[in-house]
Subunit: 240 residues, 2 copies
DNA sequence: AAATTGTAAATTGGATCCAATTTTGTTGAC
DNA sequence: GTCAACAAAATTGGATCCAATTTACAATTT
């Protein structure tokens, strides 16, 4: 479980020399705290669905797995609670926060609003570099067989089309919404023809972006997310 | 500082009897933790502008003021960071996170999108109770002289029109946006004729709601927030 | 056997202590 | 006087300890 924790630190303190020596700067100075390492690991595990909804998150267990005390674990759990990924009850511990279909549906509505707006603001600023990057993710999405990667690449594709908007606050909000719905997107893509349909819609969105048609990109994005939501509700038996 | 903390606890564990005995239940069981008390106090101080942008928040100082150790303070600061109200740099401490006009402007755009949508969803569900409550806040807003209360009542008025939407996720997002912009709203209302103009617009929004005109309420809300933003940018010398 | 009470174990919240890092102040060289 | 090098103080991050609370479980009563 200690994978990724580097034990050999370079001693800091001579930043002036660094530029002269042309060393690949590793951005020492803001190394991850124990808390943020635990946070990232738990966040990934929850989003990927490796931890089931309602699963208890014992501070001692987690602290043991990361070879730390419970203090950083509590910090991580607190952050995750703020993001809505875990629920914390005083003296009763934390559990993975599952979201109902009702809640998921609302977050999809939020995404429709947000992402439709942001991609529209993004289109005028898109560079050929960001467009080819997006096309890369799009292709990768189509080719990949691993269901675990579908939702990740889907997310990367969409998000890469939003960055040029420069709307940092909106992007943060979208990030959180994607965090909370990723499990559901994964489920939706795993069902029949989800990936093929999504890929077609991705191509259409890409084309609109390449043509500089912001209004079209916005509309197609809204319809795309909307259709993901509807199929999800249909297949998982929830009614709006 | 211990005001509000009761030292005489009724022993829990007999919920069946409670109903028979008709005791006034005081909802023991989710008392506030030290961390959340510190969190609420700091949040209020930052939003109200009692703490200036960039002001350092020393863990020891705060812990001393609340007669606790630094642990709950760290928890509070961590939550506030997630909300964007403070910035935390490893080993360097936390400071109040000021937002630039550029950032504030973006958050206003976010609010225009969000609140326009949410009030539209709310109108069909509004009851006469919630409408009269909103009208109460609206009146209070007009009558009050204290500039500190303007932004609070303004916020209460608007928010009371959103609750009936039942869109919990959207409401959370709006809450955060309001937290971050409240200082700016306060500044805008303090300048010439800000309150009178706002009140007129509030009345128009209320009327649209009472008439069940969701589209109108949505449009007026968007225009209202938009005008607050524009006046703010104009008076504080920022350009879009 | 079912319900209730009491007790021990498990778990979390908070205080205190130590280590890591930054900041501040001082000294010395030029 | 200015700058670097160094030491001391201040501050934060993390570990360990204790207290508060909940949970699990055995004992008791009916």
């Amino acid at each position: 479980m200690n994978a990724g924790i580097c034990t050999l630190w370079i001693t800091p303190g001579i930043p002036q020399m660094a530029s002269k020596l042309k060393l690949k700067s590793v951005d020492i100075g803001n190394r991850a705290s124990a808390g943020s390492i635990v946070y990232e690991a738990l966040r990934k595990a929850i989003i990927d669905g490796d931890l089931e909804d309602g699963a208890p998150l014992r501070q001692d267990d987690i602290a043991g797995q990361f070879n730390t005390s419970r203090i950083p674990v509590r910090e991580a759990l607190s952050k995750l609670e703020q993001e809505g990924l875990v629920k914390n009850r005083r003296y009763r511990g934390a559990v993975v926060a599952g979201i109902s279909l009702r809640e998921a549906s609302e977050i999809f509505d939020f995404r429709i609003l947000m992402e439709g707006e942001v991609i529209g603001a993004s289109v005028p600023n898109m560079t050929s570099a960001s467009l080819s990057k997006a096309r890369g993710y799009c292709e990768e999405f189509r080719r990949t067989e691993d269901s675990k990667n579908w939702s990740k690449l889907n997310r990367k594709f969409h998000y890469s089309l939003y960055r040029d908007s420069g709307l940092k606050y909106h992007l943060d909000m979208i990030d959180n919404a994607l965090d909370r719905t990723e499990r559901y997107v994964h489920a939706q893509l795993s069902i029949s023809q989800g990936v093929a349909k999504a890929h077609d819609e991705h191509l259409a969105i890409l084309e609109a972006c390449e043509n500089g048609n912001a209004e079209m990109a916005s509309r197609l994005t809204r319809e795309h997310i909307s259709s993901v939501r509807d199929e999800l509700l249909e297949h998982l038996g929830g009614r709006r």
